[in-house]
Amino acid sequence: MPSSEVALLQNYLIVGAIVFGIGLLGFLARRNLIVMFLSAEMMLQGVSISLVAWSRYHNDWGGQLLVIFIITVAACEAAIALALVLMLFRRSGKLDAAIWNASREENIAEFKDIEIPEDREETSRFPHLTPAGRRPLVDEESQLYRPRV
C-alpha cells in the first residue's frame, strides 16, 4: 500500500533528522573531546536511518550499501580520532577542547572561562544502600571448626 510506505518514510526521516540534530547539539555545545566525537558518530547514525528508509521506499539497495561504507569510514575515523585525542591528552592532561586556544594567533585575545561553582560533594554523590535489619549473630566456634582431613 503506497500511502503507508510514504508514512513509514516520513517517520524515519523525522527520526533521522532529530537524531542528527541532537548530535549537532552535542558537537556544538559539549567541551569534552570524546563526547564531541560521540556526537559526530551520532550524526552519522541519523544519516544512516534516513538512508535505510530511502532504500526501502525506492526498493533500491544503494542506501543500505552506502550505510555499510558509512560504518567503515566511522571505524577509520574513530581509530584516528582516538589516537589523536590520547596524544593531546598526554600533552595537556585534559580532554578540554578550550585548551587548544593556546595555539591561537598573536593578535587574538585569550579565551576566558566563566566562573562556575565547584562541584559540591552532595551533587556528585553515589547511591548507597541503607543498612536494614541487624547484623546476624556469629557463632565463632562453628566458623573456626574444620573437619579432620
Partner: protein
C-alpha cells in the same frame, strides 16, 4: 495619503495571521519546547532545572510524535514509536550527561535503538553490523580511551557548555526545518508528486529489498556492483591503521605533560 498605509496594514495583517497560525500549530510548539528542553538539559555549571528540562523535552518529543503521520495498525505504530522514542531519549541523554562514561553507555543504547529501526525496515545485515561493529568495537574503544584519560571526579569542562543557548537554538532550528520539510512536502497539494507516484508494489519489494535471502543478495551486490568501492574502503582502513600507529609513535617522542598536570603522568613512560 491614506493609500500609502495600505501595504503596511497588509503586512501587519499577514504578520498577525502568521503569529496566530504559529501559536495554534503543534509543530511550532514542538520546536520551541525542543529548544527550551535542550537548553535546560545542557550542563551549565550549577545543576538547576534538569527535571524541568526532562519534562519539557519529553513534551516536545510527544508533540513531534503527534504531528508525524501514523503508520500501519496500532501494533506496528506502537512498536515503531517505542523504538524511535528509545533512540531519541538515549541520544539526548548522551549529549547532556555530565559524566562521559555515562555518555558512552547511553550511546550504546542509541546504537541498539538504531539497530532495531534498521531491522524494522528489513535491513537485517545492517542491524547486526551496527551492534557488532559499532557497539562491539567502536564504542568499546571509546570506553577504553575514556578509562585511560579520565581524571578523578567531574572535570570542569564536563560541567559547562559552549554557549548553551545558541547551540540549543541552532539544533532546534535545524530539526524544525527538517521536520517541517518532511511533513509538508508529502501533503496532497504539494508539488512533490513524483515521490508519491514512485511507490513500488509489494511484490516488487518481496523480490527486491525484502528478499528472503537478504544477506546473500546484499553480499552479491556489494561484491559485484560495488567491488571498486570495497577495495577503496579496504585501503582506507589500512591507511587509518597505519596512521593511528604513526600518530602514537610520533607522540611518544614529544615530552608528556608534567606529572602534576596529567593523571597519566608517570605511567605513560613505558
Amino acid at each position: 495619503m491614506s493609500t500609502a498605509w495600505l501595504p503596511l496594514a497588509a503586512t501587519i495583517t499577514s504578520l498577525s495571521n502568521f503569529a496566530r497560525e504559529m501559536v495554534t500549530s503543534p509543530f511550532a510548539w514542538a520546536v520551541v519546547l525542543a529548544f527550551i528542553g535542550a537548553w535546560l538539559l545542557l550542563p551549565k555549571g550549577p545543576r538547576r532545572g534538569r527535571r524541568l528540562g526532562i519534562a519539557v523535552s519529553l513534551a516536545s518529543l510527544a508533540l513531534f510524535g503527534w504531528i508525524a503521520p501514523r503508520i500501519g495498525g496500532w501494533l506496528d505504530g506502537s512498536v515503531f514509536l517505542a523504538m524511535s522514542a528509545l533512540t531519541i531519549v538515549a541520544a539526548l541523554a548522551t549529549v547532556t550527561s555530565r559524566d562521559p562514561v555515562y555518555s558512552a553507555i547511553w550511546f550504546g543504547v542509541v546504537l541498539l535503538g538504531t539497530s532495531s529501526l534498521f531491522l524494522y525496515q528489513g535491513a537485517q545485515f545492517l542491524g547486526v553490523a551496527t551492534v557488532v561493529v559499532y557497539a562491539g568495537a567502536i564504542l568499546v574503544t571509546f570506553l577504553f580511551v575514556l578509562m585511560l584519560a579520565q581524571p578523578e571526579g567531574h572535570a570542569y569542562y564536563d560541567r559547562i557548555s559552549w554557549e548553551a543557548c545558541v547551540s540549543a537554538g541552532t539544533a532546534a532550528v535545524f530539526v524544525g526545518l527538517m521536520v517541517g520539510t518532511v511533513t509538508r512536502s508529502f501533503e496532497a497539494g504539494s508539488s512533490q508528486k513524483p515521490l508519491q507516484t514512485a511507490a513500488v508494489s509489494a511484490a516488487d519489494r518481496a523480490t527486491g529489498i525484502l528478499h528472503e535471502e537478504h544477506v546473500a543478495t546484499l553480499g552479491a551486490r556489494i561484491y559485484s556492483q560495488q567491488l571498486v568501492a570495497v577495495e577503496a574502503a579496504g585501503v582506507l582502513l589500512l591507511a587509518a591503521l597505519v596512521g593511528a600507529v604513526a600518530i602514537v609513535e610520533q607522540g611518544k617522542k614529544t615530552p608528556a605533560a608534567p606529572a602534576g598536570q596529567s593523571s597519566l603522568g608517570g605511567s605513560s613512560n613505558a
